[in-house]
Symmetry: C2
Subunit: 453 residues, 2 copies
């Protein structure tokens, strides 16, 4: 039922060796805990669709290929008293608002294959693809944790069942997306033909986990249908992404790990008979951009100092030495540095020790973001550009998804201070190649029913 | 867990005897089969969110209290070759776009209690309520038909199971909506308090059909939470609406039927200890408004003449007489009129016979809309106003949902030709009383967790 277009366009981002950049658009404040309290930040950004629209527009000004909205529907928050939730109120409603306020940037959101009716997911992502004129991407993940499952009145299924269902759900949804052929929608007012009935067909999908008859009454968008993203690093994730995904939202702390991850996804794509360049591995990067390192560190101290007590005790474990939270302004002693051993259980530990050995004070070590979800740049734009170039040229990444510390000015800082350097180095496009997400990613258009039938 | 505000505001629309008006916003073209082909209609309106936004703005100019987007996710269409689908690509994505383009009008969509994960439905409608600043309404229906169920890979459950689940789903969703108390969201940048943890609580709902732990991390909107609508006319519908709904999307061809329906819903509300004025019964009305009856009939002939062959044979059954589709321009003969007997199986038959006896030609009889889903006005604005006044004053309706023949100009025609007459007669408000749907409907704000706790 599903035929990818055979017209394999040459892949601009690979052939010209240019990277992709996505923006993490989460709770409306930014990726750092204190972001919602920072001067200049609207404290109601969490519920503000105006704020999301402005932030997406800032990324579009910076020629980012996409925004990415993660979702984890309803994990219990322990720190709601002082911190904002991590996610959007609803990722699809946010993307609908953003679609109407932007013109080029790709719109990617997480949608759980476990906790959605597939027909509904198919309908919403394809409606998004229509309203954005071909800019939708679906980050298809299985969700995990009984914490999330409890919101759906059940236990989390086994990994086998979650991934088994995920394969079926993506198949089913791509079939629904393709159930309205490329040229099926005629809408000729003169002849009175609304559509070619022969190109709008049921899918009759019935798997072990899910089924659907179809068709979905939505014509193709300017890119045919949405792009599949995936996130995760397990062998199951490699298989699912290798089979279906054009891009992977990754997470890696070192070049070596990222390179291995990228390789694993590319190998998986080959196993499914695909060109490995069709799957882009995109690890995360967190940024605090300022005119110099000191200014950036001070900004980050202002943002996160309320977390330092807790983080000092965690840093002790990473370095296997006792630390004194009362001595935040002092560098580690020679004895401490000599005793320190990076923990084998936390891949960030070696980097933390490296920073400590540079002689920074304890609070500056923490302000370097040594305990965070991704590699962190705290400094001038060129440091981010250098990091990205190094990873990109080492084959560790096809691009990056950027989590600014504070969205209100951090997106602009990245667009103004990092993007121009990457452009000057020929590592990042100077303008959008087209208006669809597939064009931005160098992926061919995808349609369902063969239009020649 | 759920406490309605005890502050029962006086009900403006009842106390001042004014009616409610909603707009049926469906496929983007209008309610008549040929609408997509009419001159001046953008043939791509089906996929145009700009068109939907303009249409909602036209209704807002006419002070309509709400737009209503029905949904029937995926019934198979037999006439896609010549007709557009009936529904929106996706009702929630459309309402998100419309919310961003309007300021006052209520936003109501159908969401199936059978074919949705309740947590997802709760999240999307409350996100809509936030983004519209308190204008969301959820038409909670059970869906019916194996045709729809097949898109979800299953058979339609029994009526008992569907309504059993519906009661639970609405309870669960209202509990999630109330899981973030009225004053829970503090977002005080100075003190660093983001929220009052004691007012954000799990719901621990576990029913026979559905369950959820919660909470939902979305604060209240300006109206607290969305309003519940229901649609249907069965005893099960009366019970569900009587328990939960503030408004009923109705369907009735005669004053007598509408009055009986309205009475049944009001009685059901009483059984649940509610003030019957809290539930508004809103039957449908279809309109072709033009400067006079002849012009309106000609417009409707242009729209629907391609269906006349089929409709003549159905009219035969309604009147129990043979009719000749070749004699469209002639009135029925005296003999035909004498032999005609309105069918007891179709409540529209008596009205069809009445029109026939007025001496209209066969095609004019059909152009009066005697075979349609609701009562039809084909004529000048005053005829619609008279119909609405008669039903309203007879206790048959608290308002009407209007399906214009062609949205592109039919909404404006209603706003310009019908609304001013109703306003002059004191039957319809001259401007919005507030900015939330609850204010438009005279329903009290609704919150969950008691803010005094």
């Amino acid at each position: 039922m599903i035929n990818s277009s055979k017209d394999q366009n040459s892949n601009p981002s690979t052939s010209s060796k240019q990277m992709l950049i996505g923006l993490h658009l989460g709770n409306g404040y930014g990726s750092q805990p204190g972001a919602w309290r920072m001067p200049g930040v609207d404290p109601e950004s969490y519920t503000s669709f105006d704020a999301r629209a402005r932030q997406a527009q800032a990324a579009e000004r910076g020629k980012f290929q996409f925004i990415f909205l993660p979702d984890g529907p309803g994990a219990v928050m322990s720190d709601i008293a002082t911190e904002s939730p991590n996610f959007n109120l609803d990722v699809m409603m946010t993307l609908a608002a953003v679609a109407r306020a932007t013109e080029y940037i790709g719109l990617v959101a997480t949608g759980s294959t476990t906790f959605n009716e597939p027909f509904n997911l198919a309908k919403q992502f394809k409606a998004l693809d229509i309203m954005s004129h071909g800019r939708a991407g679906w980050n298809a993940v299985t969700s995990s944790g009984n914490d999330v499952a409890a919101n759906y009145g059940r236990k989390i299924p086994s990994s086998e069942d979650r991934y088994g269902r995920a394969h079926e759900v993506i198949q089913l949804i791509q079939a629904l997306w393709g159930s309205w052929g490329k040229d099926a929608w005629v809408h000729n007012q003169h002849t009175g033909q609304f559509a070619k009935e022969s190109q709008i067909l049921p899918i009759y999908f019935q798997g072990k986990y899910v089924g659907s008859r179809g068709p979905l009454y939505i014509p193709p968008s300017e890119q045919g249908q949405p792009i599949i993203f995936h996130a995760g690093g397990s062998p199951n994730a490699h298989e699912l992404a290798g089979r279906f995904a054009n891009a992977v939202i990754g997470s890696a702390f070192t070049i070596e790990d990222a390179r291995a991850q990228r390789h694993a996804f590319r190998e998986a794509a080959k196993r499914y008979g695909r060109d490995p360049d069709e799957i882009k591995y995109i690890p995360g990067l967190m940024t605090t951009i300022a005119k110099d390192r000191r200014t950036a560190l001070d900004r980050r101290i202002l943002l996160t100092q309320h977390t330092f007590g807790q983080r000092v005790s965690y840093l002790q474990q990473m370095l296997s030495i006792p630390l004194d939270a009362a001595l935040l302004d002092q560098p580690l002693s020679k004895q401490q540095l000599a005793d320190a051993r990076p923990s084998r259980y936390d891949p960030r530990s070696s980097h933390a020790l490296k920073i400590a050995k540079e002689g920074w004070s304890l609070k500056d070590i923490l302000a370097h973001g040594v305990i965070d979800y991704h590699p962190v740049i705290v400094g001038p734009g060129i440091e981010a550009a250098d990091h990205m170039q190094e990873w990109f040229e080492a084959g560790a990444a096809d691009g990056f998804w950027i989590s600014p510390d504070v969205n209100a000015d951090g997106i602009d800082a990245f667009a103004d201070e990092v993007v121009p350097i990457l452009q000057q180095r020929g590592l990042f496009h100077k303008d959008y190649e087209g208006k669809t997400l597939r064009e931005h990613l160098g992926a061919p258009d995808q349609y369902g029913i063969d239009p020649r039938v």
